[in-house]
């Protein structure tokens, strides 16, 4: 079973990390959230259908991140500058001028479930069906929400582009 687990880590660690990174916008927290998701995977390895490991893991990672966001909001002492890690400092300002860096921030600014949908579908390149399974939505909902999310991004992009 440990061998199987190692295969899962190899296959999904980057995808889970990317989801956590986009949702939390904080590297340390994203690392903790990804680690928690894999601990849950290890502890539930006998109860999960091997065919559904990926959607299960992505869902658990996302839910863990959303819990963290909720706790963040509850914590009035939270330092907002901590969240804006990517936009502080001269190097980051330079990077922000590039479309990719701008887009990352724009995706990070979307509300849920739009943000997760864009990350899972457009960044991680999961199929619509997989995304539906991960977010426990039906296919029509996934498409509709994704259209709305992309429209928001498009409108923001048109504002910054000449």
């Amino acid at each position: 079973m440990s061998k199987k687990y190692r295969q899962w880590v190899k296959a999904y660690q980057d995808q889970a990390w990317t989801v956590a990174r986009y949702i939390l916008k904080d590297a340390q927290e994203a690392e903790d959230a990804t680690q928690e998701a894999f601990v849950k995977l290890w502890n539930n390895r006998d109860n999960i259908d091997p065919e559904k490991i990926k959607p299960w893991l992505m869902r658990v990672t996302r839910n863990g991140c959303l819990d963290r966001l909720r706790r963040r909001r509850e914590n009035v002492e939270f330092d907002e500058s901590h969240m804006a890690g990517e936009s502080s400092g001269p190097m980051q300002d330079l990077a922000a001028t590039e479309t990719g860096a701008w887009l990352k921030r724009a995706i990070g600014g979307l509300k849920e479930p739009y943000r997760s949908l864009v990350v899972l579908r457009d960044v991680n390149q999961h199929s619509y069906e997989e995304v539906a399974g991960m977010l426990e939505l039906n296919l029509a909902q996934v498409k509709t929400y994704l259209h709305r999310a992309r429209k928001q991004l498009r409108e923001q992009l048109s504002e910054v582009r000449p």
Binding site: V9, D14, W17, T18, N43, V123, K143, L157, S158
Partner: protein, 172 residues
């Protein structure tokens, strides 16, 4: 976003995802030539897709990779606390039940002390019966005659003699 927008979005996204049939794609493009807003939406959608293509799955940092690999070793149950795992807990919980069950099932094997005490109690009981038998015999004699009195006292005396004999045999 109104219904009209939703329809547009659906078709634009289908176009970008390659899910629109060639005929439908041509129809959408033809509509866009007459509708500046639709044309702009399609161009922006293409631009967004190009920007999205620059994003990819990020490589997890080495520190995280190391932590994830270490999870199986870290999550192994502590042998000391393993005793409190459900299987063991159930086994321990069943011990008193087994003891009670065995106690109930096992034949009663009294100790020497218990036997001696029982004999003593029996002797007292029979002595009482002896006296009671004599008294009862007298009462019966006065009521119904000697024959009935002998029958009652006789049966009691027989029982006492039999008990005394068994006690002596046990002692031997």
């Amino acid at each position: 976003m109104n219904e009209y927008d939703e329809k547009w979005e659906e078709r634009i996204n289908a176009l970008l995802d390659g899910e629109l049939s060639p005929d439908d794609a041509d129809l959408l493009k033809a509509e866009a030539t007459d509708d500046g807003e639709l044309a702009r939406a399609i161009i922006e959608a293409y631009q967004l897709q190009q920007a999205m293509d620059t994003l990819s799955v990020e490589r997890a940092p080495d520190s995280l990779r190391k932590k994830l690999r270490a999870i199986p070793a870290e999550q192994k149950p502590n042998p000391f606390f393993a005793i409190f795992q459900p299987r063991w807990a159930a086994a321990f919980a069943s011990v008193p039940l087994v003891i009670i069950a065995l106690t109930l099932i096992q034949p009663d094997t009294p100790t020497e002390r218990e036997l001696a005490q029982a004999r003593e109690e029996m002797a007292i009981a029979f002595a009482y019966l002896d006296r009671a038998g004599v008294i009862t015999g007298r009462q019966i004699e006065s009521k119904v005659g000697q024959t009935m009195a002998d029958a009652v006292t006789g049966s009691v005396n027989k029982a006492i003699q039999s008990h005394n004999l068994t006690s002596k045999e046990n002692e031997v």
